[in-house]
Amino acid sequence: MELRKNYFADVRKDDLHEIGQDRPRSDSPGHVTGKTSFFADRNFPGMLHLKMVRSPHHHARIRSIDTSEAEKHPGVARVLTAKDVPHNVYTILILIQVGPEDETVLADGKVRFKGEAVVAVLADTERAAQEAAAKVKVDYEVLPAVFDMEEALKPGAPLVNEYHGQNYYLYDSGECRKVRFGDVEAGFAEADHILEQSYQSSPIEHAPTETTGCVVAPAGNDRFTCYTNTQAMFFTLDNTSIILQMPGSKLHFVGGTVGGGFGGKVDVIVEPIAILGAKLTGRPVSFIYSREEEMQISSPRAAEKVVIKDGVMKDGRIVARKVTGYTDAGAYSRHSPYGAQKGAGHYPGPYTIPNVWIDTYCVYTNRTPSSAMRGFGVTIGDFALEVQMDKLARLIGMDPLEFRFINAYRDGDMKAHRQPTEGAALIECMQEASRAADWPVAEKYMAMSSYAKGA
């Protein structure tokens, strides 16, 4: 890696003692000696292991659940169903007033994706829990499922989630989050060329080497200590307190050393049910996702569809951009309404375009709920935007890098969501890339600056 100190030297002080220094990481000696304590390295005598009975169907009504055989299985301490969970219907963003509550800790009457948690089995060993889980009998009536976002949005599509009442998240702005800036139709009318293209992604797994999980120990004083690899300690504690209807003061969360997160450990999935198990049995409980659960049950990065329509002039200026983004939330909201909204704040990308129209939808389908991942709400949008930029440049016969210089945002430029650009550095990144990759651009672009014109 090289630090190029020549850029922005005029606005940067480099006289610091500790900042900017390659200090060794204080946690690395623990990592290389195997002494770092991850949550699963905690082991308690008498600890129970929790295994989930999961739905084999994408969408089904639950007619009945019979746990009697499982309860009799040797080593089983307790079997939990929806009725054991004090506040079973929840949503994590309720803490910041983003509702409605739309998800069940354990399925109650219905499952909405394949792999959904239905019954929790707690037993002395993982093996006993697994064997007992296989003895739980659930009678399902399979319902039609919908997987395709376009299908889901059509009238008459199977309804994924009754708590929403329709297959999209209803924002205060309506069926999508909107950004309107300038007059996009007037922009298209004046453009020399129009290009409309559609981009698609598929769900992506965070795949941290350490799977999601927690170990809970009753502290003996009515409190519970939860060793967890959550990415957000109080967010998880406070949601747990709501779900279990237990004062937060009874909960003690310990974490902060995590075997990779990438956004995959912000869902408050394992802690509430494990703490409930510890409370009802009085014993320590371990609930750790298997690799298979991590791959297919834990929420992935959402699949997205992005449709971009641009109006561009022969001289390289983009004069209008319309973006319609669809985020596949799967069966439940989790963080997706927030992610789709983040997309609305991100488009039209780091370019100054006078006429912009953005609609972002959060769509429900019968698949594993998606959630945050590294680049949440932005990564797939950037893929779409930057491939579109390449196509536009070729459409007007311009070098793709020079084309970006023409449209790059600079300090003071007004963004579509009506914030003035501050601290821009796109131009300088492109200048340095031009040098490093030996991709020459015209001198006038190398002379540009992100600083406001005339500043």
Binding site: H31, V32, T33, G34, F38, H206, T209, G259, G260, I288
Partner: protein, 160 residues
């Protein structure tokens, strides 16, 4: 469930324990004996985080039955440093900033140790081969490859 005795040398110390018949070595080490340096990243033999060295060979402890290890000599990452002095591989992982979350690190170090024990001056390709059974999601692998090459260089300088 029937308990069976297991006995082996772990990082130079005689170790014995009663375990459930059919337990994996990973389970025995972590949950019974208390050596948590091998990590369980998949329990299905696809990530390498649980790697240990049994009689000089690299093994996935999640796929090894503990009772089959009777009489063997087992090395784990927690046993590499001697008298508080880091093993050259551990030192190299620090110097090359080759750990981020650190979850893959013990397994990586085991794989690298077996390589260097057999091939003190490996080529880059040999390092890549040796690490190819270990997943890392944080580093992009390059710093780990560099750490192993660094340790090999340090070894050969000490030997010279």
């Amino acid at each position: 469930m029937a308990k069976v005795p297991v006995q082996f040398t772990l990082n130079g110390s005689e170790t014995a324990e009663f375990i459930d018949s059919g337990s994996t070595l990973l389970h025995a080490l972590r949950d019974k004996i208390g050596d948590t340096s091998p990590k369980g990243g998949c329990h299905q033999g696809t990530c390498g985080a649980c790697s240990v060295i049994i009689d000089g060979e690299l093994r996935l402890s999640c796929l090894t039955l503990a009772e089959n290890c009777n009489g063997t000599a087992i090395t784990t990452t927690s046993g590499l440093s001697e008298g508080g002095v880091l093993h050259p591989l551990q030192r190299a992982f620090l110097d090359a900033f080759a750990s981020q979350c650190g979850f893959c690190t013990p397994g990586m170090i085991m794989a690298a140790k077996v390589l260097l024990d057999h091939t003190p001056n490996p080529s880059r390709d040999e390092v890549v081969q040796a690490l190819s059974g270990n997943i890392c999601r944080c580093t992009g692998y390059e710093p780990i490859i560099q750490a192993v090459l660094l340790a090999a260089r340090a070894n050969s300088q000490n030997a010279a």
